[in-house]
Amino acid sequence: MDAQEARNFGSMLVAFGYIYPLQDHRRLVIKADASLYRFQTPYFWPTQQWPAEDTDYAIYLAKRNIRKKGILELHEQEQYNRLHKWMNHKWDFIVMQAKEQYRAAKERRKPDRVVFECQERAYWVVHRPPPGTVSAMDYGLDRRVDPNADEAKTPVFYERVMIFTQQSIMRPRVKSSVSIGALVKYCATYSSHDPFLSACLPSNPWQTDDVTNWTLNMPNVETPTKTRVERWTFSFRELLSDPRGRNDFRLFLKKEFSGENLAFWESCEDLKWGTAATMKEKAEQIYKTFLARGAPRWINIDGNTMEITVKGLKHPHRYVLDAAQTHIYMLMKKDSYGRYLKSPVFKETLKKAACPEEHKFTEAQLEHNAKNRKPSPSPIILQQQEQEQKAKMAANVDITQVMSKLSKQAKEAPPPRPAAAAAASST
């Protein structure tokens, strides 16, 4: 075994907790210098896969609280509060047991007591790693069913296997040259946009703990990044799925006075993904606004689709507007999308797009970033903000559409409407 392999093996032993370092107890690696390590007692080995229970951890934290006279480290304090909240019914027991264990440990001689404390601390560094420690025992959440366990070969299991194979025979197949070609094309286009395969500008937040990347790529940011704008040119789907792209497209369509298509498409999405209770009203609203004859925002779909849709709306369900939505989608894709990519709106956005510089952090700065990590705003707040914005936009757009129609009518019959004109000129 050469030295590098020996060091890797030693690091594995430390990461699992068979050996623990005496100085720098949080970094579970073997260092190539003369630093000291000690063997862990068999009770604390991970071999027998005894689970590291929360009760034991709570008792350990309570003991540490006694020893440190109330001054725990930050992550320990957080865990302590969390356990106090969730294990409140056992808290009396935990306090009693912690005190008794502390007194029992005091019965031993001083050097043994010190060794005992080191052992316990090393065990919990492995099983409840403090932030920044990489431990081999760190796994995700506990699951009730082990996905790697072999499944029992009962008749039910075999029935499922049979159904699966029958269905896979019946599936329509594509020539591998075609499918592989599509995969290659996808990889070629997206490889420069994938943060795993190419550099993430300005820096990958998961690696450097610096959230500039996320703030620059927020859903409704004023100036999107260049890579984001580039992605909008790949396909119409990309453009629509990015909220900022959709806003840009909406702006463009407003200038062309064909905003009703996008509005209809968005309302159909809303219907498909919305709650079942609101479905009927939503469907009626959509009919009144977009499909009825003489509706304020009438969309242009062919007679066949219109017939099917109106018939379906008598008994509305989630997917009743699917045909019309697909028609409008294809219309936008073949017609408006091409014009959008050549439009001044898009060119303006592309010119103003931000191209952030790459960060070059030193070790000290990285540690500083890691200490200053803050949690992101609660999803409830984000959802409320989204709803407010949607309501604002809905109120805004309706007026402009109506105003544009009225201004067209005003050319034939000209009664002066200064308020309307002022509104139309200001929007």
Partner: protein, 245 residues
């Protein structure tokens, strides 16, 4: 009163559980394994006696339908304490069985882990048994005989716990703890009158592992230096007087 008796017995069971855990942690390492096995056996037996006594007392108290609501809440709290202690005991007993099997003592070359602990656990066991000194009288093949007994004892304890679950309907999550967060920092808090005596917790702590042993030596040296200066001062004063006379 039944409650105070219960509390005293629970305190004792708690103490024995803590000491048992401490002893099991030392198993398989370099600290004193022959006596350790015997200590484990004795502590275990004591724990079981206490457990049986506690169980009968608590079941009789909880089965009594004519107690008030506050009393019932208190007994449920004691029940949660008892069952948590028993869970810890059972886990520790199972672990001691496995480790005891992996590290036999009666082989020509013992393979014990060099954990750095060299002292004996006599004092811990004495605390568990509430005696001043431990007497060791076991024969030499304690590890094999002991393990057989241990297996039967583990099955007894598991059975007892199952019976407990069946007979007594107590919802453990509904119990509210009396202690708030950080209660362990206050000294002299126990469930009832502890037979061990009052020991204050907030003593001076060792500063760091490496400088652990030097604190006592430091005190002694400071005393020696102070004494030296006192003697020198006295000698100077006497000399001055002698010269002036």
């Amino acid at each position: 009163m039944g409650k105070d008796e219960c509390k005293t017995m629970l305190d004792a069971l708690n103490k024995v559980t803590a000491c048992y855990r401490h002893l099991v942690i030392a198993l398989g390492s370099t600290s004193d394994s022959q006596n350790l096995r015997e200590e484990l056996k004795k502590t275990r037996k004591k724990a079981q006696e206490l457990a049986v006594a506690n169980r009968t007392k608590l079941t009789s108290l909880l089965k009594d339908k004519s107690i008030s609501k506050d009393d019932r809440a208190e007994y449920e709290r004691l029940w949660v304490l008892f069952s948590s202690s028993m869970e810890l005991l059972e886990v520790d007993m199972k672990r001691s069985l496995e480790i005891g099997q992996d590290f036999p003592l009666k082989v020509p070359t013992r393979h014990l882990i060099q954990t750095g602990m060299t002292g004996s656990t006599t004092t811990v066991a004495a605390r568990a048994m509430s005696v001043q000194n431990m007497k060791y009288e076991a024969d030499s093949n304690i590890d094999t005989t002991d393990l057989r007994e241990l297996r039967s004892e583990i099955s007894q304890v598991s059975q007892m716990m199952e019976e407990m679950e069946m007979k007594v309907q107590v919802a453990p999550w509904a119990v509210e703890a009396k202690q708030e967060a950080g209660a362990e920092l206050k000294s002299n808090m126990s469930v009832g009158n502890s037979s061990v005596g009052v020991i204050s917790i907030c003593e001076e702590e060792p500063k760091e592992e490496e400088a652990g042993g030097s604190r006592d030596a430091g005190l002694a040296s400071i005393c020696a230096v102070a004494g030296f200066f006192v003697i020198v001062a006295v000698a100077v004063v006497l000399g001055y007087l002698v010269i002036n006379m």
